[in-house]
């Protein structure tokens, strides 16, 4: 019984695991609240005081569920922001490659330029559909991410950057594309994790 508040806080930390920084902050804050409530209870220091404090606070899952939807919305905003930045940088990098290749001549296969162009168009289309229709759809985002990755890989292969010795601005733009794809992948995975957690909290509470 001595650990009733500790057990509750540990449970809360688990239920808020979709957002580790929020989980740490709320667990500390709720723990402080529960001890204060228990100490103010007429039954203190009996274990009954802790039980009543926890009971008045409500179920940990319900508490976590109130944060889950906000967490999904915040993560969706971050993800779509990263997607927009990736699209812009990819477009600029693609144009830089085309301009540079125009100067040195395209000696590579005919397939890569087509993949570069149409994968980018597909990414924009999927991104737009996702933005308008399914703001939190991980499937649309993942498809868009795959199309962008295909566009970037094809573009880099086409430009044969590392063999031909491309100028610095072309290399930097390509590096920016790769970094943003990494960031976008991280955000898509985080969004997926938050969506799954929110769904499970809503199912149970």
């Amino acid at each position: 019984m001595a650990g009733l508040i500790d057990d509750y806080v540990a449970r809360l930390r688990r239920d808020l695991d979709f957002d580790p920084s929020l989980a740490g902050r709320m667990a500390d804050e709720v723990e402080s609240h529960l001890w204060e409530a228990a100490e103010a209870d007429p039954a203190w220091p009996l274990p009954e005081a802790q039980r009543r404090a926890v009971e008045r606070f409500g179920l940990a899952r319900e508490f976590a569920g109130q944060f889950a939807v906000d967490a999904v919305n915040r993560q969706a905003k971050r993800t779509w922001g990263a997607l927009l930045a990736t699209l812009v940088v990819t477009f600029i990098a693609m144009r830089l490659r085309v301009i540079w290749l125009g100067e040195v001549g395209d000696t590579l296969s005919t397939l890569a330029p087509l993949i570069d162009r149409y994968a980018f168009v597909a990414a924009i289309t999927l991104g737009t559909i996702g933005w308008l229709a399914f703001r939190c759809s991980v499937v649309t985002l993942a498809l868009c991410l795959s199309a962008l990755a295909a566009s970037i890989v094809a573009g880099i292969v086409r430009a044969d950057l590392f063999v031909e010795g491309a100028p610095l601005h072309v290399l930097l733009a390509a590096a920016g594309e790769i970094a943003l794809i990494g960031l976008l992948s991280f955000h898509v995975v985080s969004l997926g994790r938050r969506l799954r957690r929110t769904a499970s909290l809503r199912r149970i509470s």
Binding site: L22, S32, H33, A37, D70
Partner: protein, 108 residues
Amino acid sequence: MLKGHLDAIVLAALEGGPAHGYAIIEAIKRRSGSTFDLPEGTVYPALHRLEQAGLLASTWMTPPSGRKRRVYSLTRSGTAALADRRRAWSRFSQAVETLLKGGHTWPA
């Protein structure tokens, strides 16, 4: 009905000065004559939401005699938001009161 006004109630509870979550809940209970005996877990999401919106600021403090607490205070935007919500509530409550008073008849 209370849920829709929880943000304004929390802002109003902090008008008197900074306070931590437990004190805010107690103040709401006391000032409403125990009419608003909120489930305690509902206030923290509101505090967090208001802080995210820039209407509240918070910081950890440890009083000399006690446990570490996160203390919330109204920001300048929070004070302005509270004034807006007061005006909106005043209009709304006047309208509802007029409607509920009754005694009106339809024109013949």
